[in-house]
Subunit: 344 residues, 4 copies
C-alpha cells in the first residue's frame, strides 16, 4: 500500500510518519508540502536522518491519484479548500484538521473564523470517532478525523449519555493539554521561557472544539444541550486529561456506570477502563493510541467525575487517523498501533 | 521584632525565610526543627550560604516565649499537638498547616486521617483569609492560615456568593497545582521522571481542602451546599489555577459581577481583577502574594467561569501568613511582600 | 524464545519490556523481582494495564533455567552476587548494571563502594559494546552491558583514537544526562521541585564510569591515559549528550576524521554521523537505539570537539542489551529496535 | 534618581524592572521602546498589572537627557548605532548587549556578523566586570556590561590565572545555559515542544562570547591563548553553569587555589566560594546576583575542574548592570540586589 502525507512537516504529520513506519501494510510513504518542496525531510528534522532523507514533494492531483490513502495534517482552513482540487474517487482522504468536522458550515465559519469547505464535501465526510461511527467509517472515502479534546471527552462521556445514566443538562468539561497541540509554529504562547513553569487557561468559552463535541453528542445520543468546556495549556509536550462533571440520573450506582463502559468498549483494544483508582495520569498512555478512563461518583454530592487521558498526537490525531485507515482498508485494528506506552 | 519558624526546612519554611528577609520590621529569624537540631541551615540548603549559616535550633517552650511571632510550617498532624506544649500568651502563633482550620474536629479526623488538635485550641484559632476575616485577624493570637487551594478558590468566588449574584447550588471547582504543594519529602508522586511530562488527577473527591472551602463559604456567606472540587498535579514548581463553574442568578450581567469584585477588593493591594481577557496564567503571579482573577459569563449557556491564579507558596502559604502577621502587628500590609512577579 | 527480566520494576526493566514487546522472536517475557513477588506488574505501573497484568515472580534457579535469555536490571551490587546463585550454562545472562564491567575487581570496590562479583564470573563476562567487541559478544554467555555515559563517550571517540588521529593525552569529556539515569527510587536529587529548572554537576571526578571508559579505551586501542570526565544532571527524562575535547595529531583534517567514522561504522545501523552541523540535540534520538555523532575541528585552536547523543535508557541500557541478545542469538541486528525517534 | 530602560520589553529589560523596583534610590523608571510606543507595559506583560500600567515611550534624545542612568537591553547590533544618536555627557549609559564589549571592532563584525559601533564609543566604554575593573567602572560614563557566559567563566577562572596558579595553555570551558538567554522572540530553537526534554549543543566553536572571554583574560592577567568554549541549551528558564578544565602549575595544591579566591573576593558580597562539595546547582543562585564557585583538583590526572553557577538574567545581565550603576553612583553595592535565591 502507498500512503501520502500532506503537511508532513507539522506535528500531526511527524507522528503519522513515526507510527506508519511500523505499519505492516505500508510499503511507501510519500511526503508532501506546499511550501518546502525539494527540501530533504531529514534536513529539516534531523531525528529522521537515514530514515527519511527523501525530498518533500509538491502536491499535485496526479501524485495523489496514485495513492491508496492520503492523510492531511494541515492547519485549519487549508484542507477544506485543497481536497476539492486534488480529489479523486479511488484515494481515501483522511483529514486531521477541523475543516470537515462541522456539518453546519456557518458554524464552522463562526468558530474557526475561516472560510468553510464546500457543503458537498462536508456532507460526504464521515466523522471518524472510532468505536462510535464504525459502520459509516468502514464505508467512508473521506474521513473527518476527530479533534484531540473531543476524542478524550466523547469517549469518556458518550457511553453514559447514550445509556441514559447521566443527564444531558449542565455538562461541564475541564480539559488540560500539553503544548504539542499548538503545532510546530513558534509563538509567544508556546515560547519555552513563558510556557514552562506555567499553566494557562485560554480561549475561555470560545474553543472551536465546543461545537464539535456538541454535534457528536447529538449524533450519537440523539439529543444535546449546550456544554461548558474549558481548555488549559500545561507545560508538557504530549497528553490531554479531561475532567468532566456530570449529574447521574436518580438511583444510578457506580457499578452501573462501569458496566456501561464495559458494554460499549468490550472489544475495543484501545479503551482501558481503570476502576476504583484515585489517580490517573497522562503519561500512562504516552506515545500510544490508548484512552484510559476512570470515574468517581461522589457520595457527598451525588455528582459524577469522569476522567480520561489520551496522547493528543496519537489517539487525538495520528493514531486515530491510522485506526480509521485500518477500518476502511480492512486491516487488523491495531496494525501500526501496538506501541507500549512511554511512561518515562 | 523577633520571629521564629518551626519546620524551617520545609518548603513553607523556606519561603517564609525568603520573604521575611526583606521585611523591614524583622530583625531576627530563628529557625527551629524537631529532627535536624544543630545542623547548619545552609549546609542543608546551599542557596542560603552566607545568608543563613546558623544552626537549626531545638524547639523549647522557653525559646518560643522570647519570640513576637512564630510560624509553624510543619506537615499536618504536628502543630495541633505541638502548640499546646509550647504555648504562651505573648507570642503570636501562625500555623500554615491544616491542623487548626476545621472547627469541627471530627471533620478534621475524617478528612486528614490524623488526631485532631484540642477543641479549645481550634476554637481560639482565627481563619486567616485576608480580605474576609480582617477584624478577627487583627485581634487574633493564633491564626489558622488558609490552605493553598482554598485561598485561590475562596478569593475568587466569595464576592459573588456573598452578594447573591451566583447560586450556592452545584458549584464545581477544578484546580491545578504545581508540585511544590506536595512538600520537600521525595515520593513516587513527585519523582522527576514520573512527574514531568505528566498531568495527574489525584484524591478524586477526597481532598482535605474540600471541608475547608465549604466551612469558609458558610462562614462568609451564611450558607453552603456541598461542592465538587478536583485537584490535578501539573509539572511546574509553583502556581495554582482554579477554574470554578457557577450558575448566575437570573438577569445578572458580567458587568455586575465585575462590580462585585471591585466593591469587595477596592483597597486590597494583592487582588488584581483582570477583565475581558481570554488568557490567565500562573506565571503572572509567580513569587508574589498576588491573586489575579478573571471571569467569563458564557452567553451560550449562561454559566459563569471564574478563574484565579496564585503562587501556592506565597499567597497560598507563606505570603498570606506574613500578611496576617502584618495585620496583627499593625505593619503596612505589603511589608515584606513587595516583590515583582518572576514572570520568567 | 522465552526471556526473563530480573529487576523488572526498575527503569532499565521497564524499557526492556517496552522494546522486547515489539521483538519478533520473543514469545514470552517473564518478570522477576526480589521484593514485590505476587504483585501485578500493571498494578504497580498502570501504563501496562491490559499488556502486563501478570504477577511479578520470585527469582529461582529453576525458573531461570527455563529461559533462553535473562536480563538483569538490578542496581549495582546485586547481580554480581546473584548470578552465581542462579547460574546455568544454557541461559544467556545480560547484566545492565556495572557489576561485571571492571576486570579489576579492586577497582570495582574502590569506585562503587560495594562488594565485587567473583573474579571468575567477571573473567567470563564479555563487555558488550556493540560495534567494538562483536566477535566476543557473539560467543558470549554472560554480557556486561556497557554503562550509559561510556556508551556515548566510547562510540564517539574510539574510532579516532584507534586510528591514531587524536592523542590519548589530555582527553576531557563533559557529559550531561537526563534524570532517568538515576533510576526509579525517589531521592532529594531527583525530587521534581529541586530538579526541574536546575542543572547540577555531581560526583566531580568521582563517577564510577571513569574506570569503565579507561578500561575500554585500553581494550580497543591498546593504550590509555587517565581521562577527565564530568557528569551533569539536566532537567529532562531521557538523553545523554557527551562533549569530548581532544587534541588531533599534527596535520589531521576534519575530512580524515569523518572518514574514520565512516570506515568503522559503515555497516552499523544505529550510528549516524552528522557532518558539518552547528547543533546536535538529545531529542533527535529519543526512544531509540541511535547514537548520533558530529565533530568540529576548531581552526583557531586546532582542538577537536566531538559530540554524541544517545537515549540513556535505550542505546545506553536496554536497547544495547537487546542488540547484544540479537548478536548472540543470530537475529537481525535491528530486531525489536526499529522505533522512529520520538522527537516530540 | 530617574532611570530609563531602552528595550524594556526584552527579558533583560523585564529583569531590570523587577530588580530596580526594590532599589531604594530609584524614584522613577521610564520605559522606552522603538516599536511598541504607546502600548501599556502591563497590557503586554500582565504580570505587571497595577505595577507598570504606564505606556511605553518613544526614544528621544531629550527624554534620555533627563535621566541619571539609562540601561540598554536591546539585541546586538542596536545600541552601538543608537547611543551616538541619543548621547549626552550627563547621563550614564549601561549597555547590556555585546555592542560595546570588543575593543577590536573588526573582531566584533566577524563574530557578530553586524555593523560595529563607532571606534570612539567603543574606546570610551568600560568593561563592567564587577570585582575586576572597579576603578575604571567608578569613573565610567559608558559601561559595556559583560555577557552571561563570560561573567560565570571569568569570575571563576581569573583569580587562578592572575595569580599564576594555572596555565593559560589549553583552557577548555564547557557551558550550559537556560533558555531565557535567547530572549523573548519565539523561534524553533526555543519552541517549547522542541526545547523541553532536550539538551542541545549549538554554535560549536563559533559563539560570540569567545573573543569577549579572551579579551578579558588578556586585560586582567596580561596574557592570553585561544580558548575552547562550548555552549549548550538546557530545558530550564534561568541559570548558567560553566565547567572549566584547567592545568595547574607544578606543585599547586587545592588549598592554595581556594586561598586565591578568598584573597580576590574577600569583600565581594556576591561571590560565594563553596569548598569541598560534590555538587553545585544553578538553582542555588536563582533570581539573585550571586555567583557560586567550587573547584576540584583531581589527584588521578592533576587536572583542575572549576565550576561556577549564576542566574544568567541577574549576575549575567540585569543584576550586574545595577551593580555597575551602584558603583558609579556611589550607592551601597547590594542596593536593589538583596534577594534570597528562589531555590524552588
Amino acid at each position: 500500500m502507498k500512503v501520502g502525507i500532506i503537511g508532513a512537516t507539522g506535528y500531526g504529520g511527524l507522528e503519522l510518519v513515526r507510527l506508519l513506519s511500523s505499519h505492516p501494510a505500508v510499503q511507501e510513504i510519500q511526503l508532501f508540502t506546499s511550501s518546502e518542496e525539494g527540501i530533504s525531510f531529514s534536513a529539516k528534522y534531523p531525528h529522521l536522518t537515514t530514515l527519511y532523507d527523501q525530498p518533500l514533494e509538491a502536491i499535485t492531483k496526479e501524485a495523489i491519484a496514485q495513492l491508496d490513502v492520503v492523510f492531511l495534517g494541515t492547519p485549519s482552513g487549508i484542507s477544506g479548500q485543497l481536497i476539492p482540487e486534488i480529489y479523486n474517487e479511488q484515494t481515501v482522504f483522511i483529514d486531521l484538521s477541523g475543516d470537515l468536522r462541522l456539518k453546519n458550515i456557518e458554524n464552522y465559519e463562526n468558530w474557526y473564523g475561516k472560510k468553510a469547505a464546500p457543503q458537498g464535501l462536508v456532507n460526504r465526510s464521515v466523522y471518524g470517532l472510532c468505536g462510535w461511527n464504525d459502520a459509516a467509517i468502514k464505508e467512508a472515502q473521506v474521513i473527518a478525523n476527530p479533534g484531540c479534546y473531543p476524542t478524550a471527552t466523547l469517549l469518556s462521556i458518550l457511553p453514559l449519555l447514550q445509556k441514559g445514566l447521566v443527564k444531558h443538562h449542565n455538562i461541564i468539561i475541564d480539559a488540560k493539554s500539553g503544548v504539542s497541540g499548538s503545532g510546530n509554529k513558534p509563538s509567544q504562547m508556546t515560547h519555552f521561557t513563558e510556557t514552562t513553569e506555567a499553566t494557562t487557561i485560554y480561549k475561555i468559552n470560545q474553543h472551536q472544539h465546543i461545537p464539535e463535541i456538541e454535534q457528536a453528542i447529538e449524533l450519537f445520543t440523539g439529543k444535546v444541550e449546550p456544554i461548558t468546556f474549558s481548555t488549559h495549556l500545561v507545560p508538557m509536550i504530549r497528553g490531554i486529561i479531561t475532567t468532566s462533571y456530570l449529574q447521574v440520573e436518580s438511583g444510578v450506582t457506580e457499578e452501573q456506570l462501569y458496566r456501561a463502559y464495559e458494554d460499549v468498549y468490550a472489544d475495543d483494544p484501545f479503551i482501558r477502563i481503570v476502576p476504583s483508582v484515585q489517580k490517573l495520569s497522562t503519561n500512562q498512555v504516552r506515545g500510544t493510541n490508548y484512552c484510559d478512563i476512570t470515574i468517581n461518583l461522589d457520595a457527598r454530592t451525588n455528582r459524577l467525575t469522569v476522567v480520561a487521558v489520551i496522547d493528543n498526537l496519537v489517539k487525538g490525531a495520528a493514531g486515530q487517523a491510522i485506526q480509521n485507515m485500518n477500518k476502511i482498508m480492512g486491516y487488523e485494528e491495531q496494525a501500526g498501533l501496538k506501541q507500549v506506552p512511554l511512561f518515562i
